[in-house]
Assembly symmetry: C2
Homo-oligomer: 341 residues x 2
Amino acid sequence: MTDPQRSPRSVAVVGATGAVGEILLEVLAERRFPVSRLRALASERSAGATVRFRGEAVAVEAVRPQLFDGIDLVFFAATGSLSKELAPEAQRRGAVVIDKSSTWRMDPGVPLVVPEVNPDAAVNHRGILACPNCTTIGFVMALEPLRRAAGLRSVVVTTLQAASGAGREGTDELSGQVKALAHGRELEAKVFPGPLAGNVLPLCESFREDGYSTEEMKLLLETRKILGLPDLAVSMTCLRVPVAVGHSATLLVETERPLSPAAARAALAGFPGLRVLDDPLNNVFPTPRDVAGRDEVLVGRIRRDLGSDRLWLWEVSDNLRKGAATNAVQTAELLLARGLA
Amino acid sequence: MTDPQRSPRSVAVVGATGAVGEILLEVLAERRFPVSRLRALASERSAGATVRFRGEAVAVEAVRPQLFDGIDLVFFAATGSLSKELAPEAQRRGAVVIDKSSTWRMDPGVPLVVPEVNPDAAVNHRGILACPNCTTIGFVMALEPLRRAAGLRSVVVTTLQAASGAGREGTDELSGQVKALAHGRELEAKVFPGPLAGNVLPLCESFREDGYSTEEMKLLLETRKILGLPDLAVSMTCLRVPVAVGHSATLLVETERPLSPAAARAALAGFPGLRVLDDPLNNVFPTPRDVAGRDEVLVGRIRRDLGSDRLWLWEVSDNLRKGAATNAVQTAELLLARGLA
C-alpha cells in the first residue's frame, strides 16, 4: 500500500536562484519531501541558469503562468510583485501556493502559518497560504510556549536582523563591505541605507509617514494574526546588524499569569522546533553564528525582569531556514499530512 | 590679569597607552585644557613607550605613588585594580582624581558625574570623582532632557556595544576577526566569549549568579545614582555587536506626565551635548559610524509607542570620547570652573 500522505507531488519553486530559493531546494531534499517532478522558475534574468536538486542539475525557466499547469504545489520565494501577479495564476490552475513574500500575509482569506504555532489555520486555505516575515517566525516561536503556559499581555522587542533578510543582494553587499573594511577601503552602500559592516542601522526595509518601518509593522500585524490575538501589545524596534545569517532579538514579555523563569524555560524547552541554550555561568547562550544552518529557534538568557514580573528572553533563528525555507516546507508537509493539498 | 580658572595645572594620565588614555590626551589638547605639565603613566609593561601630547613625544613612566607628588589632577584610564590601589595614593598627595574605572562609582563618598546631567554632584567631592560606564553616559544623556520635561517612570533598554568598550584588546580582536572573516579563515576569540565578527553576543563583561551581567547591573545602578532616582525602573539587556567604536541603544521611555514626540524632540535638541538626527522619510538617523570621533550623543527615531504613551528613542555615542575621555575632561573643566580643583 502506498501512503497517500507521501505520494509524490509535482512541485515548482519560483525564485529558485535566490537566497531563500536555494535553501528551499536543499530543505526539500533534506526532509525527503515527496517530489515527483521539480520545476525551477525565476525571473527572465535568471532563465538558462541551473540549480541543483537532490544531486541533479535542474534548468531554470523564466516563470510564466502556463508552467503551473499540472503542478500540485508552488513555492514562491520571489518578489512581492511577482507573487501578486502569478500566485492567482497558479491557484487558478489547481496548484496550492505557499508564498514567502509579504503580499498575501494580511489577506483575511489567506492563512499565515507557522506549523508549530498555528497549524489549524491551514485548514481553510483557498489555494494560497502565506509564510510570515523571517523575523516574525522566530518571535512567535518564542512567544507561543509562554502564551500556552501563562497567557500573553504585552511584549517589548528589539530585533537585530541579518543582511540576508534583504536577499542575496544584502548578503553580497555586506560581504563586499567586510572585505573593504578589512583592507581599509571605503564602504559602498546601495542595498542598505548606509554602510552596514562595522555598523548598526536602525532601519529594516523603509520608513512610513509615522516614523515606523514597514518591517516593524509586519512584525506587529503578523504576530497578532498568527497568535490570534488582535489586540496584543507589541512594542518594537527593528535594527539591521552586520551579520550574514541569523536574526536575533531581545524580548521583554508580560504574561497574564505569573510565570517563573524556571517554568518559562521548561515551557520553551518542551516546544517543538525550539531549543533552550541557557547556562550563563558557563557562558552558554545562543548567537547568530550558532543558529546559521539550523532549523531550530534557539532561546537563552531567560530571566526575571528587575522590578516587575516580566521575563527577558534572547532569541535567535536562521532567517533563511526556519525564517523562510524550512517554515515553507513544513507548511507543505502539514498540508500533505492533513490531506489539504 | 590671569584667569584662575584657566591657570595651568599639572596633570597625570594613568593608562596613557590604552584605548581611552590615548583619546584622553587628544581631548585634553583639542579642548585646550590648561596643562602646565603632563605625566604619562602606565603599567610596568608599557614603561619606556612614548605617547604624543600637543604634538610632542612624552615618555611613559611605570606608575608608582611618588609620581603623583606635585600633580594637581590625575586621570585614571586603567584597570579597576590599579585604580583601587593608586587613586587613594594620589588623593593623599593632594591631587584630585578623575577615575574611569568602575571601582569608585558606587562609593557613596564619590560623585559620579556627567557634567551636562548632574554637575552639582561634583561639589562635595573628597578628592576622587568617578566617570560612569561608557554605556551609562549615553543613556543618561538621552534620559535627562526627558526627565526635565516630563519626569521619568520607567525605561526598557537594549544596548548594542562596540568592541572598544573592552579596551584595545577588544578592538584588536574584532579587527583580526574581520580580516579572518574577509578571507574565509576561522575566527579566534580570547577577549570575548565567542566570535564577534559577523555575530552578536548577548553578553558584555561577565554573568552573575542571577543571570544578569555585571555590565547590566552597572547600567541600572549608575543610572539611578546619576539621576538621583534610586527607584527608577530600568529593564535592560546589554549586547556586544561587531562595531569598533560607538555604542547604541534602543530606549522605550515611560514619562510621568504625557510627552509628545515633538516635545521630546525639542527637549532633546535643546540639551547641551546632544544632537537630534531624526528625519525618517529622508533616511536621516544616527549610526555608530556617524558618531565615532564625535563628542555629541546622537538621538533619532523618536516616536510614540503603538498602544501606550511611551516613547521610543535610538541613541548612539562614541564610547571612547563622550563615553569616557571627553566626559572625564569635561569633569575636570567643571572642577576648574567651580574652583573645585
